[in-house]
Symmetry: C2
Subunit: 259 residues, 2 copies
């Protein structure tokens, strides 16, 4: 499986131009940028540099946050940017509970409506939407879609042009993971890897490098491949530890550990 670098992995060391150069220099053929980095570099500059280096944009992070006020315009822009970058999908982090709310069911309804609302534009732009179920510990703050089953239920209700991004960090614990990956089939639009550390010291920024935790990455990969996924595996590590290391070294370790 070819390697892609989610740019969050070295976002504190390098800007997007440096990350594009780094991928090229290290022979990493895929990249998945975050929109704030794209914006800082300029959309057309980013698109040009990525193309000049023959990188595949395995995803754009992120659309979503349908429970925020400006969700409509923000997702419209995200779709345009994903189109301009030729991204294989726009990753949706769907948003959690609105400030002060305990209405989880309501938030989930708003998410479904929001995705249904932007889907026609995404189809027209040729940008597949990838719902990323996030770990239940992030249900309140970042995403109220928390299992692959829940994400696929939304996909099935909406038809074409939508699928899922499976990040092992969020789903590795799920007793239904194998069955739901099989169910996903061609809806599997992105596959993200990292590891779950024991102990985990922070709910957001203590992800592990592949091999340093307890996720059986080899096993999950066989499920993903058996489901027909032929895309990249994308390293996405939010980690104060890895953000404090030399970025070239981080990329070397990513390559070695993903092999």
């Amino acid at each position: 499986m070819e390697l892609s670098l989610n740019t969050a992995t070295v976002r504190k060391q390098w800007n997007l131009a440096q990350i594009i150069d780094g991928c090229a220099r290290h022979g990493i053929r895929g990249i998945s940028p975050w929109r704030d980095q794209v914006s800082a570099m300029g959309l057309s500059n980013a698109a040009r540099a990525i193309k000049a280096n023959n990188l595949v944009v395995t995803g754009l992070c992120r659309g979503g946050f349908f429970t925020a006020k400006d969700w409509r315009d923000d997702n419209r822009r995200a779709i345009e940017e994903a189109h301009e970058l030729g991204a294989r999908c726009l990753v949706l982090v769907v948003g959690g509970l609105p400030q002060g709310s305990k209405d989880l069911r309501g938030a989930r309804e708003r998410v479904r409506e929001g995705i249904a609302g932007i889907l026609p534009e995404a189809r027209e732009a040729g940008v597949p939407l990838a719902i990323e179920p996030l770990h239940p510990m992030q249900a309140a703050e970042r995403a109220c879609v928390n299992t692959l089953e829940q994400a696929l239920d939304i996909c099935d209700a909406l038809g074409d042009g939508i699928g899922v991004a499976v990040d092992v960090y969020h789903v590795w614990w799920d007793p239904k993971l194998e069955a739901q990956i099989r169910r996903a089939g061609k809806r599997l639009l992105a596959y993200h890897i990292c590891d779950w550390l024991v102990p985990t010291r922070d709910l957001l920024n203590d992800r592990g490098m592949m091999g340093d935790g307890v996720i059986d990455l080899g096993l999950i990969r066989t499920w993903v491949e058996a489901a027909g996924y032929a895309g990249f595996q994308e390293v996405e590590i939010f980690s104060e530890h890895w953000w404090s290391r030399d970025a070239d070294e981080v990329l070397d370790v990513c390559k070695a550990r993903a092999a």
Copy 2:
């Protein structure tokens, strides 16, 4: 719904004798002790003091940890203690991955076998076993049963004498929670309350007091009652914050917030 105090809530301020006195003084009619506290007080002393104060033992915490080496003897003792205390159930925290293992499926098989292994003794002692699904963020370290659906699947395979403990902290995020509580019906042996704080700063010891977080406790309670549960609601708060407060004040707040 009557109130029970899980003794972990004030474990750093008081020993079990003080907690029993505290419950009586505050008019809290249920108690759910941890075995280390029972052991420190002495089993027969604890049983006598609980009985003298007319407290209902809504559960004994805990059996389980079936992935540990001494699980057989430890669970046998736990069943005996639960019987001696007249506990309404023995709460099972089933255990996570063995040290150095990534074999989550294997751990789950061992858990099923372990529960099946102790169930005959539990039935004979008249001690219902209550599987407590733990939050997915504790899958590696404390319990590889992580959803109510998964716990109920185990119960259904094993028959009588076994049910579930539903702790809102662990399951509030689950999109299938309402349906699975309905499914649980008479298998619902214990109901634990607290709250999920935003942000949550620690994976174990940053639980919130009811009302301080984002869990819709009123709604979940209607589901639990509709399922036919007529037991206590048990406050269980692992929190450095509440452990640093005066224990009498903590009990006052618990009573006010659980009303």
